[in-house]
Symmetry: C2
Subunit: 168 residues, 2 copies
Amino acid sequence: MLFDLTSLDNVFLEQFQTFGCVDRHPVGRVVTVGYYALVETYRHNPVASAWARRTNWFPVDDLPKLAFDHQQILEKGIETLKRSVRYRPVGFELLPKKFTLADLQKLYEAILGYKFDKPNFRKRILSMNLLIPLNELQTNVSHRPAKLFKFDESRYESLKKAGFIFDI
Amino acid sequence: MLFDLTSLDNVFLEQFQTFGCVDRHPVGRVVTVGYYALVETYRHNPVASAWARRTNWFPVDDLPKLAFDHQQILEKGIETLKRSVRYRPVGFELLPKKFTLADLQKLYEAILGYKFDKPNFRKRILSMNLLIPLNELQTNVSHRPAKLFKFDESRYESLKKAGFIFDI
DNA sequence: CCAAAAGTGTTGTTACTACACCCATGA
DNA sequence: TCATGGGTGTAGTAACAACACTTTTGG
């Protein structure tokens, strides 16, 4: 457990694996149930949040040395997230209620570690009809303001019941 | 734990989820780590195997009533298997070393619960170049005998390293 | 010969990639 | 009017589904 999450609510939490190898800890058999959480930094930043001031953040490619098998656990978690994000609309958990398509694209690129072609990414996302366009634009940007969207939760639920599989 | 697997070796075993809800068991908090195993019935049948004589088998759509949340656990396991079988060559674990393409197709249809088009299934599988055709045919069948194949483990490993994702 | 399942080829359609291009805003 | 990123259209190609067809065996 790297962080204490008990003081946060509305956090997306997903179990990925339980680790129970007999020799993974010097004191004997220790069983660890691995979870990852998606925390929106715009909601929980050091300025606004007491919780955030008590946590340490690292980019995944520049971590301090971790104890025991924690590096492996972390890698397994990231691997699971990468799979999840492609086949379930998990990414939206990390965005504000209203977001632009560019926000979404950047998020996917950050998690998966590769770039998407902008026109194709838009078409792909929009063709799923899972985003509701809002009559609202970005403000205070020094370029053409982007349209804001929100995720259509109820449509996703009914599509899923009909056998639809989200796929980016 | 429905079966004792300790007397079996070479069994494909995959963890799918850990269940630890406080109220899932009357005696208090019980944590269960869910695994599913793939057991080849042609190798472990009641006639040949003492282990098989001590186990009970049920079709998944005709199960006796299970205790506590075991029905849910089972469903989660099947769901995980269905996903696994599509994105990793897990299906081969259930086949003999040598098998026909029809065997493979029937296996996928049984696990996933829907039919594939034979010509397209073949093309899909063969285009991955993960099967090694053997110079051997089925015998004693009252129709044209099918060619036998084996799975190319080492090629799969090297493809995987190069970023390839198995997908049926 | 027939039945049954193996195995192949073709065609039409869809989906995807790789671009080039236009649009709206602030400075 | 320029820079910047938002947003659209299209052409070429690859992938796929549907289905007709041929082949090889046992009886």
